[in-house]
């Protein structure tokens, strides 16, 4: 029975590691490859941490299993009368300290490139592509009219959509993120990105996708009963498709509801 407990405590870390090992093949892992370099760097950092923590995990769980195994022998005499070891304490303080310090400094650069305004790509921060306003329970999107710039104040010729954000592929783009009511969070899991939308603040968010396609926009901050259905869609498309999309949007907005030939018919009957 004594050995059973040792095996019991040694068994579960093995199971845990096995589970992590088979997870990617079963879809219990990142939803897809991040389609841009910072997203990939985030994944790389994740894997670096995974390696470090796995080593520590195996090391400590193995040590635990070992001392349990040794201590479970029924042997004559007494336990080792020891109050500790100064040298060991020094080693196992300094070593993790160095590793932890390294990890935190190593992350700084990626963080700065994602978050610090002055490091944003020039092109993106000069011309924000859209304003995304979160509200219970939808994403409202405001684009400037084609050829114009997005201004802080809404303009009469601005274009609006709901839950449907289009961006051109391969270009850094920046959105202005706002909230109309409570706190929400603009999450792009496929791009490994999220930013809270805080009422009263306008927060710039930049990203780029090098792959065309559709990605989910997820609300990641509890915003009320309908939080679970606050779903949007990011469409990444070729530059010309994107421009065509905006054009179409503009035409739809300027449309007064009469089909063109009906309008002609009215004009003709006037002539008669």
């Amino acid at each position: 029975m004594r050995k059973f407990w040792c095996l019991f405590f040694m068994f579960w870390p093995v199971l845990a590691i096995w589970l992590c090992w088979v997870s990617p093949a079963n879809g219990w892992w990142f939803p897809s490859i991040a389609p841009w370099e910072l997203g990939q760097q985030i994944d790389d950092l994740f894997y670096l941490l995974l390696i470090i923590t796995t080593v520590v995990f195996i090391g400590t769980q193995f040590a635990l299993g070992y001392v349990l195994w040794k201590g479970s022998d029924v042997k004559p005499g007494r336990a080792w009368f020891s109050h500790g070891s100064h040298n060991l304490e020094v080693i196992w303080t300094i070593l993790p300290a160095i590793i932890l310090l390294f990890i935190s400094l190593y992350q700084m650069d990626v963080l700065a490139r994602i978050r610090v305004m002055s490091k944003f790509p020039e092109q993106a921060s000069r011309d924000p592509i859209a304003e995304v306003t979160a509200r219970q329970f939808e994403w409202r999107i405001r684009y400037p009219a084609p050829g114009k710039k997005l201004l802080a104040q809404p303009q009469p010729d601005d274009l609006y959509t709901v839950n449907d954000l289009h961006v051109p592929v391969g270009q850094p783009v920046m959105i202005r993120l706002r909230s109309d009511d409570v706190q929400h969070s603009f999450g792009l899991p496929h791009l490994r990105l999220m930013q809270d939308a805080v009422p009263g603040l306008v927060i710039p968010v930049w990203f780029r996708s090098n792959a065309v396609g559709k990605f989910e926009i997820v609300c990641k901050e509890l915003c009320g009963w309908g939080h679970y259905k606050m779903q949007g869609e990011l469409t990444v498309e070729l530059e010309e498709d994107y421009e065509a999309y905006l054009k179409a949007l503009q035409e739809k907005m300027n449309d007064d509801g009469y089909p063109a030939d009906a309008e002609n018919a009215v004009a003709q009957s006037d002539e008669e």
Partner: protein, 606 residues
């Protein structure tokens, strides 16, 4: 430094109780409005164990929805109140479920079971005092839990059982500050805030009492560095409470004012919320996050340090070995407490606060993993070369160490801000804090219950049932929570009533069903604990003073100790962990045992 103030008149009158047991007190004063720290501790313990079942039931509701979304609820679905929504969990109800689950578990289980139950029971016994410094205040600290439980209870039912406080346990404004932002939870959220205030008052009363008692009432010879780790844990926790709690209380009142009196501490202008006036405002929602986490990060250590202490005691006792690195253990605990005050921003990496602050908090958060690591190494060192006895308390204590490693390591991922941009508010976070709060703290508490039960009631708990409870809980726990890391990596957000709305999460349903079955197993296992506890209270085999052959002062008192605890004031000669000392023939050496000096130099205790 170490002189105990046992000569105070108050202390003497209590000693008289101990000697003259015939001094009659009525049932009400003895068991209900008692000022005896042991009775109060047991009151806290039983209350929190019942609350554990309530919180667990709420969690099973959450798990039901995640495994079988929008399907008829077993048992509860038949109830009258759920008929309107067809016996299923509505999104409002789901939001309320996870909000109240966290609330109950944090404010009514973990915090009071550590400080309230074990703090009360153990502090005077382990430092050799006859009671707390302020017994009446102590009684009040228990009875202030009840207004809190009452208010939480009201907040369940006031909007109809199916809608309650629905802003999460973190209660971020504006959702929690403007009533019309969360229609169903109007008065419920207000009562929730009141309840949190009451819990705070209760904790504060305890905290003042513990600090005073530990500083002033130690037995002769009980120097600071001869205190058991449990006492260190309780002491540091009390200090954390005293410094952090006022911030939460003040912030709670600010939200209350925002809700009820039209102030705008957290409400900016220009909002478009159902029928609310958009012209008022000027507040800042992020302020709440700063204030809340300034309390709640230290609070996670309030929910951990006492358990770390108790586990250290248990490991030494059943390894028959001194604690490995007593002083490093004390220092690392203090370091955790100190650093704990400068890491709160790690909950706000995605909130839109200044990125430079984010970087600062990243470094401080990484650093707080260091003392946690040191403690883990020392626990393993403690077991190293021991003669292990795999009793129920020991198994739970080993599980504490094993699980805490996972929780600490997952913390590193989240402390790395770029990675947190992906995993924040996903199930990875949920996995992390369950590994530390359940895997570590709660296993520690289970260990402590089995370990000190004989002292509480003079009877033993059944060891076989204890082991079955342990195994089932351990398996259920890992089945439920380890898998959550993977859901987090797959990007599944927390707090979604129906994650499968998102196509990229649809395939996670079977995994979630597995987790729900594991959670059910774990839930049912807790009935074994309750059954064992209440059965053994009356019918367990009787035990003597020191059934585990342990060293602490508490084992020097009768089981259960009478009012006033010790027959005579104990005198302390050494630290609490002198197991297998060559100075004696037994493999333990109680703190109170006097040994005439031998010619050989005795190893210093420190």
């Amino acid at each position: 430094m170490s002189i105990a103030t046992h000569d105070t008149p108050g202390a003497h009158s209590h000693d008289d109780h101990a000697h003259g047991g015939h001094h009659e007190i009525g049932f009400v004063r003895k068991y209900i409005f008692s000022t005896d720290h042991k009775v109060i501790g047991i009151q806290f313990l039983i209350t929190t164990m019942l609350m554990l079942m309530v919180g667990g039931a709420l969690a099973l509701g959450v798990r039901w929805q995640l495994a079988f979304p929008w399907q008829w609820m077993p048992i509860a679905g038949d109830l009258e109140v759920f008929q309107q929504q067809g016996g299923i969990i509505s999104p409002e109800f789901y939001t309320m479920l996870f909000t109240m689950h966290a609330t109950v578990m944090i404010f009514l289980v973990i915090i009071p079971v550590l400080a309230g139950a074990f703090g009360n029971f153990l502090i005077p016994l382990q430092i050799g005092a006859d009671d707390m410094a302020f017994p009446t205040l102590n009684m009040l600290s228990y009875w202030f839990m009840w207004p809190a439980i009452f208010c939480f209870g009201i907040s369940f039912v006031i909007g109809g059982v199916t809608a309650g406080p629905a802003a999460g346990w973190t209660s971020y404004p504006v959702l929690s500050a403007i009533i019309s932002a969360a229609p169903g939870s109007g008065p419920a959220q207000t009562f929730w805030l009141l309840a949190v205030t009451f819990v705070g008052v209760s904790s504060m009363m305890g905290s003042v009492n513990y600090m005073t008692t530990i500083i002033n009432m130690r037995a002769p010879g009980m120097t600071l560095f001869r205190m058991p780790m449990t006492i260190w844990g309780m002491f540091i926790t009390a200090i954390l409470q005293a410094f952090a709690l006022p911030v939460l209380t003040a912030a709670g009142f600010m939200v209350l004012f925002d809700r009820t009196m039209g102030t705008c501490f957290f409400v900016p202008a220009g909002l478009v919320v159902n029928n609310a006036d958009p012209t008022i405002g000027g507040g800042q929602p992020l302020l709440w996050q700063h204030l809340f986490w300034f309390y709640s990060h230290p609070a996670v250590y309030i929910m951990l340090l006492p358990a770390m202490g108790m586990v250290s005691d248990i490991l030494c006792t059943f390894a028959r070995k001194p604690l490995f690195g007593y002083k490093p253990m004390v220092y690392s605990m203090s370091a955790i407490a100190g650093l704990g005050f400068i890491v709160w921003g790690h909950h706000m990496f995605t909130s839109g606060m200044n990125p430079a602050l984010g970087m600062t908090f990243m470094v401080s958060t990484m650093m707080i993993a260091l003392p946690s690591a040191v403690k883990t190494f020392n626990w393993i060192g403690t077991l190293w070369g021991g003669h292990l006895h795999f009793t129920t308390p020991m198994l739970n204590a080993i599980a504490f160490v094993s699980m805490f490693i996972v929780g600490g390591l997952s913390g590193i991922f989240m402390a790395a801000v770029p990675v947190d941009l992906y995993i924040h508010d996903t199930y990875f976070i949920v996995a992390h804090f369950h590994y530390v709060l359940f895997g570590a703290t709660l296993f520690g508490v289970f260990g402590a219950i089995h370990f000190w039960f004989p002292k509480m009631f003079g009877r033993m708990m059944n060891d076989t049932v204890g082991k079955i409870h342990f195994v089932l809980t351990f398996i259920g726990f890992n089945g439920t929570f380890f898998t959550m890391h993977l859901l987090g990596v797959a990007g599944m957000p927390r707090r979604l009533a129906d994650p499968y709305n998102y196509p990229y999460l649809e395939h996670l349903l079977p995994m979630n069903q597995f987790m729900t079955y594991s959670a059910l197993l774990m839930g049912f296992a807790q009935f074994l604990l309750l059954g064992n506890f209440f059965y053994s209270m009356f019918w367990g085999p009787k035990c003597g003073r020191n059934p585990w052959h342990a060293n602490g002062l508490e084992w020097d008192a009768p089981s259960p100790p009478p009012h006033g605890n010790f027959e005579s004031i104990p005198i302390v000669y050494r630290g609490p962990y002198e197991y297998s000392s060559p100075e004696t023939d037994k493999d333990y050496l109680p703190q109170t045992e006097y040994i005439s000096p031998r010619p050989a130099p005795a190893p210093s205790t420190a």
